[in-house]
Symmetry: C2
Subunit: 332 residues, 2 copies
């Protein structure tokens, strides 16, 4: 069967562009004994993939040029020689950017389209939702009445983080990159306030104004100067979750900025790197809680869905200019 | 009674000098009902006092020019109108830099010269010892076989931290400012290895060589470029205790350096500011453990004792050029 696949063509220097990818037609074989044939429906594009395009140590093993790109995918079992999977079932897993592919079923998780829309399993019920929930609960541990600041607040993780902060009784202030996004956060997602960093010259002052009681928990998805401004407003015993640093991912040199050790010291504050996969043992509980809140209407799902297999690279690149609101997903 | 007192004359800009202090003769009154008259024997000088000489937020309330300087002191009760204190008893507490002073006894702790030399209650059995023990146990949580790096390793806190690391089964590497100090750490205090940062051009490489299995716990007393070099060698799940930043205390502007968030992120590492007073509830247990180790000979005390009341400011300033080995104390 003819089948489109997107190959990692070359490592980007700085901002990735379309030349880092190439599309190929590669035949798919029939599934052998124990295998299944999968048809892709939704493909997740995520900032962390940029790290894997770099050589050397990052979150996870580096992609190698010449190999298919991979990310979280929702696919349908269309042929099966594996007794654990039936035709018509849907699964999610780390799979190739391909229209069709063979799998032996390892590492796949079944998803139920009757509980939530399929794409939600890549977002609010998938890795970004788990990241928001577990980062906040395991490191941030926000208490009722505390102030939570979320950067990248209109992104896949941030928009869930802020909503969970509200469920937990926090004052929640988001930082995002357009007035449309800040309005959306306040109007549609219950954020108490939001800052458009693109039109704010002094983030430190803006956060001081929006957070008169200071910042107790900072969920950081972006790093860089935005974070510098937040850090100058932290309270005694603040917790800072380093979940991402999208503003830095395309830097070609080690970025510099204010040394934050003395800020942490004076405030007895904690800063910790958060990788969701370190908490895999807590995924079932976390997924259960997120599903419950979603079905109860306490959490709202937000997605930017791009249509067309060939648009995966473009959707990925768009993450770094902020073209998405909520989770960016490609529908095949 | 005539009595010398050292007054905080003016706030330093950058490195403090002798002009920041002045000595005055101030009469001491007789102790009123409920009060005691104290004669100073030992005065502690500590890097953190530099923070209190600055205006605004630091570890503790700022000193105000015109007031006596204060720090940890060992004194003898020479007259008493307070039934809780008898003449001839020794106490420690935050007291004025004065030969004699009156106290109502609040906040003082009795110390026993038969258990350890009096000066030890300002060092290994005092705030620096508690800082080493609690910083390591509460944030560092070193495991048997892990690698612990200590900066400011020949200072009051560092020299205890490294020894505790050895007791706990760690490989311990110290960073200090002279060959004499690094030799002392290895020969007399059981450190596995030590780096002289003043003669090492590339700290990152030096630590990589001394710590082939990477750094699991970094107890940071100094900050700045030394710490940058250590941070580039941390392991997955590393813990970084920000206990001090003596290299930065005399900076007049916010110092800049490499942004460490991505290093924390990729390694799921924790960095936390440590102020010993946050853990006051654990002082009795910690003091008991330190006393036990000291009496058993598992911990060795190290002090630099300067003689003469008038030399307190000089001793304090010497902390920033590293004139001390172990705890710097002034004997009156």
């Amino acid at each position: 069967m003819k089948n489109k696949v997107i190959i990692f063509e070359k490592r980007p220097e700085g901002m990735p562009d379309l030349n880092c990818f190439r599309q190929e037609d590669i035949m798919v074989q029939e599934p052998a004994d124990g295998e299944i044939l999968l048809k892709t429906h939704y493909i997740s594009v995520d900032p962390y993939l940029r790290g894997r395009m770099r050589e050397g140590k990052s979150y996870a093993a580096a992609f190698n040029p010449g190999e298919p790109m991979r990310s979280g995918i929702i696919a349908e079992v269309i042929e099966t020689n594996n007794s654990e999977y039936r035709q018509g079932e849907y699964i999610t897993g780390m799979l190739n950017w391909a229209e069709y592919q063979i799998s032996n079923g390892e590492g796949l998780v079944k998803v139920d389209p009757d509980v939530a829309p399929l794409s939600a399993y890549l977002g609010i019920l998938g890795m970004p939702g788990l990241t928001a929930y577990l980062g906040l609960m395991e490191i941030g541990r926000p208490q009722d009445g505390e102030t939570l600041v979320v950067s990248g607040a209109a992104g896949a993780v941030g928009i869930v983080t802020g909503q969970i902060g509200k469920i937990l009784g926090c004052k929640v202030v988001g930082i995002a990159g357009s007035d449309e996004k800040t309005e959306m956060l306040k109007k549609d997602f219950g954020f108490d306030d939001a800052v458009n960093y693109k039109t704010t010259s002094n983030i430190r002052k803006a956060i001081a104004e929006k957070c008169p009681s200071g910042v107790d928990v900072y969920f950081d998805n972006v790093g860089g100067e935005i974070s510098d401004g937040v850090m100058m407003n932290i309270n005694k015993f603040a917790r800072i979750i380093i979940c991402g640093a999208i503003s830095q991912y395309n830097e070609t040199r080690m970025p510099t900025g204010p040394r934050l050790q003395s800020v942490l010291l004076v405030n007895s504050a904690l800063m910790k790197g958060f990788l969701v996969n370190d908490y895999a043992g807590k995924f079932p509980h976390a997924t259960g809680q997120l599903t419950h809140w979603l079905l109860e209407g306490q959490l709202k799902n937000k997605e930017t869905i791009i249509e067309g297999f060939e648009n995966i690279p473009k959707a990925f690149i768009g993450l770094f200019t902020g073209t998405n609101k909520g989770k960016m997903v490609v529908k095949v």
